[in-house]
């Protein structure tokens, strides 16, 4: 039984991760494995779409902290988009908006890679 899932798409050489459900300390390793696999395969331009994510605990945010430097060192980035207000509050309380690109729409996040 899992109440968290990840779907991966590709758009113009950018990998897009769609997260669904509830992300906590029990399943954050699933996100970590997936992200690590992409980065190891050479994908460093990553967009994470949160529109179907109902809940996130700090273990989930920790995954983005652990890999952001790796991708930025290779001129890539992890951009975050389409968060619900509740999920955004958690990122905001921990100071993420200063250090991460968080956009309203997925398109904006993709466009940011072109600048």
């Amino acid at each position: 039984m899992s109440n968290f899932s990840i779907e991966i798409r590709e758009d113009r050489n950018i990998k897009i991760l769609n997260l669904s459900g509830y992300l906590d300390a029990h399943n954050s390793n699933e996100l970590e494995d997936q992200l690590k696999e992409l980065i190891d395969a050479g994908f460093t331009r990553i967009v994470v779409n949160f529109s179907n994510l109902n809940y996130i605990a700090s273990a989930g945010l920790g995954v983005f902290m652990a890999y952001i430097e790796d991708v930025r060192e290779q001129s890539g980035d992890i951009k975050l988009c389409e968060m619900t207000d509740k999920v955004y509050t958690v990122f905001d309380l921990l100071g993420f908006p200063v250090l991460y690109d968080i956009t309203r729409s997925e398109l904006e996040a993709i466009e940011k890679f072109k600048v």
Partner: protein, 139 residues
């Protein structure tokens, strides 16, 4: 004062059960949806810390959670018989430094303190007791 309590194993699979339990009580206590979300997140983070630090990821140990409420506030008490936890070691996390060092963790306590009105820690009879309080009027 009304109350409800559960006791379960320190397995991370139980975090969803814990969130559902606490949310149901908070809703019954009269909290708005946004605040219910904050309370369940704070309790999730506190229990995650118990599982990881007090019990060193041993999923077979015991966590007790009791919730009580009246018309003014909700009190959540989390007990475990694992290693003592020293809240004095807490420092506000500096996200920029963490990222540079590829470090994580330490975020949970900061969240708990941001989300709740009062957070207390006691060590009694070889047990840890974490008390989290949310006032109804501030919700």
């Amino acid at each position: 004062m009304q109350n409800d309590a559960i006791r379960l194993n320190s397995a991370t699979t139980n975090l969803q059960v814990i969130r559902d339990f606490v949310s149901a009580s908070a809703r019954t206590a009269g909290f708005a949806d946004d605040t219910v979300y904050k309370i369940q997140l704070a309790v999730d983070e506190a229990c995650t810390n118990v599982m990881k630090h007090s019990y060193k990821n041993d999923p077979t140990q015991d966590i007790g959670i009791s919730v009580s409420w009246d018309g003014t506030k909700l009190v959540v008490e989390i007990t475990d018989s694992g290693l003592p936890f020293d809240p004095g070691q807490y420092h506000q996390p500096d996200l920029g430094t963490f990222i540079k060092q590829k470090k994580r963790g330490g975020l949970g306590i900061h969240l708990i303190r941001s989300l709740m009105d009062e957070v207390r820690y006691d060590r009694k009879n070889d047990k840890n007791l974490i008390t989290l309080i949310k006032e109804l009027k501030k919700s």
